[in-house]
């Protein structure tokens, strides 16, 4: 089987795969930025003194975390057009699905980061005469951020892999592009293995980088 491994197929497919990779990267970037922004809002709601906000955020996070991503993708792909009243296209529905889904995970990361700062640290700040806000800004958040960054980046790598699931609604990301060529040219082995290698190299390098970062900024 490997004897007739045809590199030419891969070379010819490169432009299609590259366009797919751009979609994958776009999806990853939007979901990271959107997920962190909305996730921060959710985390602050979760930690807020207002029961309504806290409960809403908790339910939101529980709901998304117990539902498979594929089902969430289906939800938005099929249901959003009804809500909006018109078709919005597969790209937008998937972008919304990923952002809302990832927000639930980022919310938990950010909340854990903030809660990882021990109470005595806050007391120490207050004892020095800093105000509540000054303590939060100059003592709690910088430490929380350092604790969070590696986890946020690790989650980003998971997210990058998860974007391949848009295959189920036919959005032409990297994997779907590889799959299209694989079926078109009947070159399953070459294309799937290429996809695996590309994902592996990107994720492996990123995770090594995150690991180094973690060591560098270890508290």
């Amino acid at each position: 089987m490997f004897a007739d491994f045809d590199f030419q197929v891969i070379v010819e497919a490169a432009p299609i795969l590259w366009r797919g990779m751009l979609i994958t990267l776009l999806l990853t970037a939007v979901a990271i930025v959107g997920g962190i922004l909305f996730g921060t809002v959710l985390a602050l709601m979760r930690l807020s003194r207002f029961m309504v906000l806290s409960v809403f955020s908790g339910r939101y996070v529980d709901a998304f975390r117990s539902t498979p991503l594929i089902l969430v993708i289906f939800w938005f792909y099929f249901a959003v057009p009804y809500v909006v009243g018109r078709p919005i296209g597969d790209l937008y529905s998937v972008l919304i699905a990923f952002t809302l889904f990832e927000a639930a995970y980022y919310c938990e990361i950010i909340r854990a980061g903030i809660q990882s700062i021990r109470q005595p640290q806050v007391h120490a700040g207050l004892a020095l005469g800093l105000s509540q806000w000054q303590t939060t800004r100059s003592i709690v958040l910088p430490q929380a951020f350092r604790n969070m960054v590696p986890v946020i980046l690790t989650q980003a790598i998971v997210l990058f892999q998860d974007t391949s699931l848009v295959y189920v609604v036919g959005l032409k990301d990297f994997l779907t592009a590889a799959d299209l060529v694989a079926t078109r040219d009947n070159r399953v082995l070459e294309l799937y293995l290429t996809a695996a290698v590309v994902y592996f190299v990107l994720c492996f390098i990123s995770s090594m980088w995150v690991k180094r970062l973690r060591r560098q900024y270890a508290l």
Binding site: W75, Y82, V168, L193, Y199, C203
Partner: protein
């Protein structure tokens, strides 16, 4: 936002006429106490009732649970072996285990699913390949179980390793000092303690397998998500179909989390706290 959508839960409750000759349905489902009554059992109400949708859901849930549980057995055994291998002294064993973890962790599950299903049978020796392709019953289900199990084993291995490494070296020394062998130290001290510590992350790993079993629909496994999409496509009652699936996933999650909390409390080492879940 105003939306134009006609909810109709009765679609999910209908029965095929042959299945339900009396013309009544006793089914109540998910809190919506709707008698399927006149709404449903005849073909002339349209496509809505053409299929036993409730049975599809039940069968989908069944397969989700079966696939997830079988995969979990692979995950926990393989993950333990690999996690332990990453903590032993032999550099060769450690290197193999690390390679496994890095490969299976850094390739998306869906890609692995395709490779197991479409590529691996081609790479097997001719006889084995033919057997997998022609004679193995339900090949997509077996593939999904193996793929999910091996994918998640890389994550569980990391939990097991972290659990073992969190135990102070003095414990190993104390075990060895009384004459236990390395294997006995793992068997009687390191593993019993670390499994207890890592119950929360193991629980979320299991939930991960359970949710990721939906990826198996890409190779034709008719699990819960696949069935709900199929119903959505047949009936256009997408909200009902996906709501049922979502609620079922949430219920299973709730049950598993509750059970694991009980287990955790039962086996907790007095005077200790468990590692936070991830």
């Amino acid at each position: 936002m105003e939306m134009k959508y006609n909810w109709d839960w009765s679609v999910l409750l209908c029965r095929l006429p042959e299945d339900d000759p009396t013309g009544t349905s006793e089914t109540t489902f998910g809190g919506t106490t709707a008698t399927a009554g006149g709404a449903a059992q005849t073909f002339d109400t349209g496509a809505d009732c053409a299929q036993p949708y409730l049975d599809w859901i039940v069968s989908g849930l069944g397969w989700t649970v079966v696939v997830a549980c079988c995969a979990w057995v692979i995950t926990i055994s393989l993950g333990s072996v690999i996690g332990v291998s990453r903590t032993v002294n032999q550099p060769m064993v450690r290197a193999i285990a690390t390679t496994y973890v890095e490969i299976f962790r850094n390739i998306p599950l869906l890609v692995q699913m395709f490779i197991w299903f479409f590529v691996v049978p081609e790479l097997l020796p001719e006889d084995a390949g033919r057997w997998v392709k022609r004679e193995l019953p339900l090949p997509e289900y077996w593939t999904a179980i193996v793929c999910l199990g091996m994918y998640h084993a890389s994550r569980t291995a990391e939990q097991v390793r972290a659990g073992i490494e969190s135990i102070p070296l003095g414990q190993t020394h104390a075990g060895l000092a009384t004459g236990l062998t390395r294997v006995q130290v793992y068997r009687y001290i390191l593993l019993p303690v670390s499994y207890r510590i890592i119950i929360p992350p193991l629980t979320s790993d299991f939930m991960g397998i359970f949710k990721n079993s939906s990826v198996a629909l890409t190779i034709g496994v008719m699990e819960l998500t696949a069935q709900s999409r199929q119903i959505a496509e047949y009936t256009f009652n997408i909200f009902e179909a996906f709501t049922v699936a979502t609620v079922l996933y949430m219920m299973v999650t709730l049950i598993v989390v509750t059970v694991m909390r009980v287990v955790e409390a039962k086996v907790r080492i007095p005077g200790t706290i468990a590692m936070g879940g991830g």
